[in-house]
Subunit: 355 residues, 2 copies
Amino acid sequence: MSRFLSLEAQSLAPYTPGEQPQDQSYCKLNTNESPFPPSPAVLRAINRAEIGKLNLYPDPDCSLLLDAAAAVYELKAENIIPGNGSDEILSFAFRAFCGAGKPCAFADVTYGFYRTWAKLYGLDANIIPLREDFTLAVDDYMDFPGTIFIANPNAPTGLALPRSEIQRLLDADPNRVVVVDEAYVDFGAESCVPMLYRYDNLLVVQTLSKSRSLAGARLGFGFGSPALIEDLNRVKYSHNPYNINRLTMASGAAALRDRAYFEACCASVQAAREWTREELEALGASVLPSRANFLFVKLPGIGGHELYARLKEQGVLVRHFSAPRTQDFIRVTVGSMEQMQTFMDAFTRIAEEVG
Amino acid sequence: MSRFLSLEAQSLAPYTPGEQPQDQSYCKLNTNESPFPPSPAVLRAINRAEIGKLNLYPDPDCSLLLDAAAAVYELKAENIIPGNGSDEILSFAFRAFCGAGKPCAFADVTYGFYRTWAKLYGLDANIIPLREDFTLAVDDYMDFPGTIFIANPNAPTGLALPRSEIQRLLDADPNRVVVVDEAYVDFGAESCVPMLYRYDNLLVVQTLSKSRSLAGARLGFGFGSPALIEDLNRVKYSHNPYNINRLTMASGAAALRDRAYFEACCASVQAAREWTREELEALGASVLPSRANFLFVKLPGIGGHELYARLKEQGVLVRHFSAPRTQDFIRVTVGSMEQMQTFMDAFTRIAEEVG
């Protein structure tokens, strides 16, 4: 920290991303990436002609990308804002819909970045504990007089709410925004996108980092009423208007259009998830019923950090969260069947030593 | 605007980027892009192998890119932070080094986004008028007790300060940060980068959008002491840690390493600039002595907006700023000699009609 740092910046609580070793020597199951390369359509979209135009600014309105997304999500372009990853959209949402007199609420166990953004904008954050079994009870939010952020499926638990539960929240108070962070929705949960035409207080956030194999391109979307999207654009144009580069725009449009590849990738991850879950339970591990591309796993007789460390010794990288409620667990990304076999081999050795 | 917008977001003053018509039918001299495609090394860097890895997150620390930049700028990696365009770095700098008790100062005629960021962070902004001839007198900032932002060369004037003048500001008060925005420095001005080892209160911001032909890839840098860079990373990790995507990282490293191409592009733009300036003056236009890749031009007998509109009718797009001090001028990006010939043909017709 320099002696020049503002008081506001001193009070920040920066986020710590998962380890990203650059040597690729690990079986890497720690940051919920797709095990599959992007659609071949992305390779075709990033051609010499597209690279040759990099001297020109991208379209700040991202029209071609919005058209592709509108077709896939059955929305209008005015319902969509793209971001440099869904993180950027979430950051804009915290600024647009929270502030003085507009507090925010989210779960105690959820995406850790929500706390960071609340700090970034100096917000009054209401941390509402999940129930004992890690489920989120929407009744706990019914009377909250501010903006609600719900990851659905939730991270790192993988548990999902049905759309009807979100609908109860939206109906309970039409004068507050509910932000549903659907980063992992494509792996088996119900999306709230079909409710967008009925609720102008609903913002849905999605990403192409997981189910569309584009974590390296950085692209996410916010979906909402034209007025909510206009509000988010107000923040975008106050921070960084040219936030989506040309090659990401072309990659995203191509990936969105290749529905068959997307569906095959999602089905493969779900099959690998269910196989892994059964294997883990056969070894005596507890596994939450996940609708995401990761599993939240506890093995009796060993702490989460120890389990993480012993897997790492065997070349398998998973993620551990050290907060009291999550410290007994590890979060394991669901990769390819080959990766999950490697993971299970290592896990089995540990379970045999512990058991 | 929705009924959900926070008070803080209501008070924003979003930036309006230059027109970006997507049909490419104009001779486009309005957003200071390079007329040249990126280095051929960029085409080689964006290969199938690199695109095939887009399913994996980029390195949030950007190590390979920092190494390339460190070699080119003769700094250490710890002196450098990359951003999603230099706009993002400037936004981070406003948050890191300004706030309660730390006001900011900048010129009345300069990059218009400074006002927007000051609003975004609710800052006390001191707008210090340029002198009558559009020069910036550092004496006007000597006693200012906060963070100073100077575009050097300045936009839209193109005028540059010598490094020794910035040094006077740095010496005058070692307890305030001076941010020097060198977006256009490669076209003939003196960079402050060589002073970084002597001044821990200096932050230099550069971009690859202009002289490195990568506006479409979105990449800029902040250069400063390790403590200043740590402060900026504190903001980055509170907003969007994976801010640089894989293909931009590869493009940027390749472009930085191709010094010969970079120098040839800069020399070509400077030659076209001086030719255009002489032609304009021969027609009776006033042209400020520019060290940037644009010219700030006034033609007696016609207002700036009228001049902009009549050039646009002839298919030449330039930029007009409607504030009182700039309304008589247009800002003309210096493109290729062929583009400048097209511009001069159109300008000559207008000058003959007016004169």
